[in-house]
């Protein structure tokens, strides 16, 4: 699927701007916001002009010294300003209030029942996304990239994994917090296929700034294909590794034997598998009784466009850079420097490159 730039948040001029919307959860809010902004501008204009003009028209040029003897008007005029202003304010506010309630009701629920319900968990500083099983399939987990079928309402259950985060896709829906110990719900529906940017908006610690995500609104066929692919378990023996671009070819040659036979997989299981899972392999990921950290499931890593919550584009270079020193890319991130040797790193990268 190719997208025109305007449909792809990654290349949009303002990826998180919310005065243009792409779905029924966000659309009714836009005119309301414009209306309120319009009123605001009008009120500001009126008072700025009133104050400035009032000063210009009414000012008297009296020196500071003669202020103490300057006359004082014993006037009770002026209240008519309030008597004119208040009813106008009141009417405006009533309109605004009714409109607000109307929109709030309108977007509370999708027009038709959701066709899919997924669970999104906010974690420091990435998003865990869980899909239900297809008939005969398995429930699967992915991270930071959500796929939804275009034109269909999708229910999103929001869970807080550690601290509070907030789930926000400006073009599709306003914010809803993910709160540990509670479950919130929101819904997404995209009217146009596209890639929409999302962002965590509740302060959640060191890397709150880099906690983005993407929502892919796919045509139904594309969505179904994506889902079928995610449903697959990783093959036990990866395809023959490809040489990562930009890596030292000589070193690569020298270590070629080490790369054979799923070596990357073993290294991964040993060094990374305590936190990351690759379904269908020995890398089981975080276990509640272990010492690991909840980390993104990497089963189909290569189906993702970005790494580390939209911090990096997913390419070989970035992947290798990330694995060798995640702290440099995202200081404070909950993934340690793993101190892999050069060959080990290459093996792991190669292994991950195979996780389509």
């Amino acid at each position: 699927m190719t997208l025109s730039p305007s449909q792809d948040a990654m290349s949009a001029r303002w990826p998180l701007e919310y005065l243009t919307s792409a779905g029924p959860h966000a659309a009714p809010v836009v005119p309301l916001t414009w209306f309120l902004l319009g009123i605001s501008a009008a009120v500001i204009l009126i008072f700025t002009v009133a104050v400035a003009w009032g000063i210009i028209v009414r000012r008297q040029r009296v020196s500071r010294e003669s202020l103490s003897t300057c006359s004082v008007e014993n006037s009770s005029r002026g209240l008519s300003w309030v008597y004119i202003g208040m009813p106008l304010t009141l009417v405006t506010l009533i309109v605004a209030l009714f409109w607000t309630m109307l929109v709030t009701g309108q977007i509370a629920q999708p027009a038709s029942p959701p066709t899919l319900a997924i669970t999104v968990t906010g974690r420091q500083w990435w998003w865990q996304v869980n899909y239900p099983a297809l008939p005969g399939g398995r429930p699967f987990e992915t991270a930071n990239e959500i796929h939804i079928p275009v034109g269909q309402p999708v229910l999103v259950r929001l869970r807080g994994g550690d601290v509070i985060h907030s789930f926000w896709v400006p073009a599709l829906a306003g914010k809803t917090d993910t709160i540990p110990g509670r479950q919130n719900v929101t819904w997404l529906q995209a009217d146009r296929p596209g890639v929409y940017r999302g962002q965590c908006t509740e302060y959640c610690g060191a890397q709150h700034a880099n906690m983005g995500f993407l929502v892919f609104a796919d045509p139904p066929a594309v969505f179904a294909a994506w889902r079928r692919n995610q449903d697959r378990l990783a093959s036990a023996v990866p395809a023959r590794p490809t040489t990562p671009r930009g890596m030292n070819a000589a070193a690569n040659d020298a270590t070629r034997p080490a790369l054979e036979g799923g070596n990357g997989q073993a290294i991964f299981a040993q060094h990374c598998g305590g936190c990351h899972a690759i379904d269908g392999t020995d890398a089981h990921g975080y276990q509640p009784d272990g010492h690991g950290v909840r980390a993104p499931n990497l089963t189909h890593l290569m189906s993702r466009r970005t790494l580390a919550a939209v911090t990096l584009t997913n390419n070989t270079n970035n992947l290798a850079g990330w694995i060798s020193d995640p702290q440099a890319q995202k200081p404070g991130v909950r993934m340690p420097i793993t101190h892999l040797s050069g060959p080990e790193l290459q093996a792991v990268v190669a292994y991950l490159k195979a996780q389509q």
Partner: protein, 652 residues
């Protein structure tokens, strides 16, 4: 003669009324009221004017610190992908910035003004509880230093000023940082509360005879309302922080996700903090209500309406806290209710804004620096207020919340309704406090640089918000479309800071070389201008008797009714005394004995600081020492007195 002799211990007396002429022999009063020279006298002073100035200076220092923190943040945010600060440094900075500004600057500065001005405006010789006043200052200072001590030793709070849990719990924020904030806030809460109680009682008891409720200047209404709110709201946040500290240190389960309720924190915090944001602007609005008319040469339009607006803003202010929690997933019905309540709160604000504007239009404004600061506040208030209305609409807020739109809103309200009036108030009352005027030419520069800098710096935050820039991010990528505007914001901030610098220069220069002010340089109408500049320690030679809302304008306004009596009134020179009046009508019904200078407030503060430091470091012996100090200070404080303070100084 033994002055402690009970026979000199009066139960009642007819207060002497005298008329003073030019050369009133003030030495007797001077001697009774003045503070001993030297360090001990300085520590023990209970003079409201000294305390007020200490408050103002300290609060200003925190403003500068908070401002410097903001400027560093603005350097980091000036362009995309900057690495001036690490994420954690940025997070500590924005937290300290918010804390400094909201808690250590915005509220104390107003307390300072009220402390200085109240007794003068009320025609009283001091506040109701002078020692409590000193206590409130010392604890404020201690709390500020406590939090900043954490900051400079690397234990600065890093969860923003509203410090949401679970992030603030031990699991996610190990170390002392959040404990510093929690305990510091409880300490500060004590300062705020005792200060508030003092204002309430002063308002009820210490007004000049004849100053019935409808003659009280609006500043006093503002501070009174804020104080009443503080009395009721501060316990909420103190409790919230106490429970946070318990969760962190003693394993209780108030906020953790497993057994506790993270959202309880938000309720408790905002039940306090929304009333609080009004508490830190209502006194400032009062300053404008009192200052603007002086320059417009007419009384405020709609005094009664403005007072009612003040009180009702506060009352409504208790019912809107959930608008800070619109995105927490609460059911729609309560959300709509709180949305509506937030809309309604616009009405009293609108009334005040319209009254001020009408005052300009129906008056004959004289454009001074103070006037410009007050008048521009109207515009900034409207800008800040209407952006509040946009976010008050729950559906819109789901998009707007936690973006720079909110950052714009909060700066327009806080800087617009607090900082601008405060700077204006300094231009206005500086002559009263120091006897010298600030330079007007420099003042004009000061105003325009600040005003333009502020708008250049903070208007673009609205559009940044609409373009989706989240708040509290330490950096942003270049491809978000925010870079240019952020640069403008940073440049505007720098310009604004230069404006603040000009102000500081003006103060420094004028302190020595400003023009002599005389008692009433602006030809103002309220009582503080009736006494000399700076006022004598005892404020008024005789307690004036008030007949109208503007005792000093009766002549100029050609008031036909009765005139106030400024030069003839109660003398009260049998010790430190002032008159106590009835709460509603201001009829004298008591001679209040005022305490002398005392070290007890300072000692009490030392005790509290020891106690809180001990609790922070888990040194329980230190806590015990603190409690013992507190106990001894309190016993000394309340020791029943048999002699009027000050009497021994004159009668020996």
């Amino acid at each position: 003669m033994n002055i402690a002799d009970p026979s000199r211990w009066e139960d009642s007396r007819v207060p002497q009324v005298v008329a003073i002429d030019g050369d009133f022999p003030g030495q007797r009063l001077q001697k009774m009221w003045e503070t001993e020279p030297g360090f001990k006298g300085w520590l023990g002073s209970v003079d409201h004017k000294q305390i007020g100035i200490r408050y103002i200076v300290t609060a200003f220092a925190f403003l500068l610190l908070g401002g410097l923190e903001a400027l560093v943040m603005r350097v980091q945010l000036g362009g995309p992908g900057q690495t001036v600060l690490t994420p954690q440094e940025y997070n500590v900075l924005f937290s300290m910035h918010g804390i400094s500004m909201i808690f250590l600057y915005a509220s104390p500065i107003l307390t300072g003004f009220s402390n200085y001005l109240w007794p003068l405006i009320l025609g009283s010789r001091d506040m109701a509880f002078p020692r409590l006043n000193a206590l409130s200052y010392w604890i404020y200072l201690a709390a500020g230093l406590f939090i900043y001590a954490g900051f400079v030793t690397g234990h600065g709070p890093s969860d923003g000023w509203f410090n949401y849990v679970p992030y603030a719990l031990m699991d996610y924020s190990p170390g002392l940082n959040m404990d510093v904030y929690a305990l510091g806030m409880i300490l500060l809460g004590i300062s705020t509360t005792v200060g508030a109680a003092n204002f309430i009682v002063t308002f009820l008891r210490n007004r000049a005879p004849g100053m019935s409720l409808n003659r009280v200047p609006v500043l006093l209404w503002g501070t009174l309302t804020a104080s009443a709110a503080n009395i009721m709201a501060v316990p909420s946040v103190s409790l919230a922080f106490f429970m946070l500290w318990m969760d962190r240190q003693f394993g209780t389960h108030f906020y953790d996700a497993k057994m506790g309720q993270p959202l309880l924190w938000q309720h408790l915090f905002w039940m306090f903090a929304h009333p609080w944001v009004y508490a830190i602007v209502l006194p400032a609005m009062g300053m404008v209500s009192d200052g603007l008319p002086t320059f417009c040469r007419r009384p405020l339009v709609g005094y009664t309406l403005v007072v009612l607006a003040t009180v009702s803003t506060m009352a409504f202010g208790f019912g809107v806290w959930v608008h800070h929690m619109f995105a927490t997933g609460l059911p729609n019905l309560p959300l709509s209710f709180f949305s509506g309540a937030s809309f309604i709160i616009t009405i009293p604000s609108g009334v005040a804004v319209m009254c001020w504007t009408a005052t300009i239009w129906t008056g004959r404004p004289v454009v001074t620096t103070a006037f410009l600061f007050f008048a521009s506040m109207i515009i900034l208030f409207v800008i800040g207020g209407v952006s509040g209305v946009v976010t008050a609409a729950v559906a819109s807020d789901w998009q707007l919340t936690d973006t720079y739109f909110i950052v714009a809103h909060l700066h327009y309200t806080l800087i617009g309704i607090n900082l601008f009036p405060v700077i204006g108030a300094i231009y206005y009352w500086f002559p009263k406090m120091t006897g010298r005027l600030l330079n007007e030419r420099l003042g004009m520069w000061n105003f325009w640089v600040m005003f333009i800098g502020f708008n250049v710096g903070f208007l673009p935050m609205h559009t940044l918000g609409l373009l989706g820039m989240p708040r509290r991010i330490y950096t942003y990528p270049a491809d978000m479309g925010w870079s240019g505007q952020n640069l403008v914001v940073s440049l505007g901030s720098a310009m604004f800071a230069i404006g603040v610098l000009l102000f500081l220069i003006n103060v420094a220069v004028s302190l020595k070389r400003g023009k002599e002010a005389g008692p009433n340089p602006w030809g103002a109408g309220t009582l503080e201008w009736a006494t000399s500049s700076p006022p004598p320690v005892y404020n008024f030679s005789v307690i004036p008797i008030v007949a109208t809302r503007h005792p000093l304008w009766e002549e100029a306004m050609n008031e036909s009714a009765e005139r106030s009596s400024i030069d003839r009134g109660f003398l009260l020179d049998r010790g430190k005394e002032t008159i106590g009046t009835s709460p509603l009508d201001g009829e004298p019904n008591l001679i209040l004995e005022m305490p002398g200078d005392s070290l007890a407030p300072f000692a009490l503060t030392v005790g509290m600081t020891l106690m809180f430091s001990g609790a922070l470091l888990r040194q329980w012996w230190l806590v015990a020492v603190g409690i013992a100090t507190i106990f001894i200070s309190l016993v000394d404080w309340f020791w029943p007195r048999r002699v009027h303070a000050g009497l021994e100084k004159v009668d020996g």
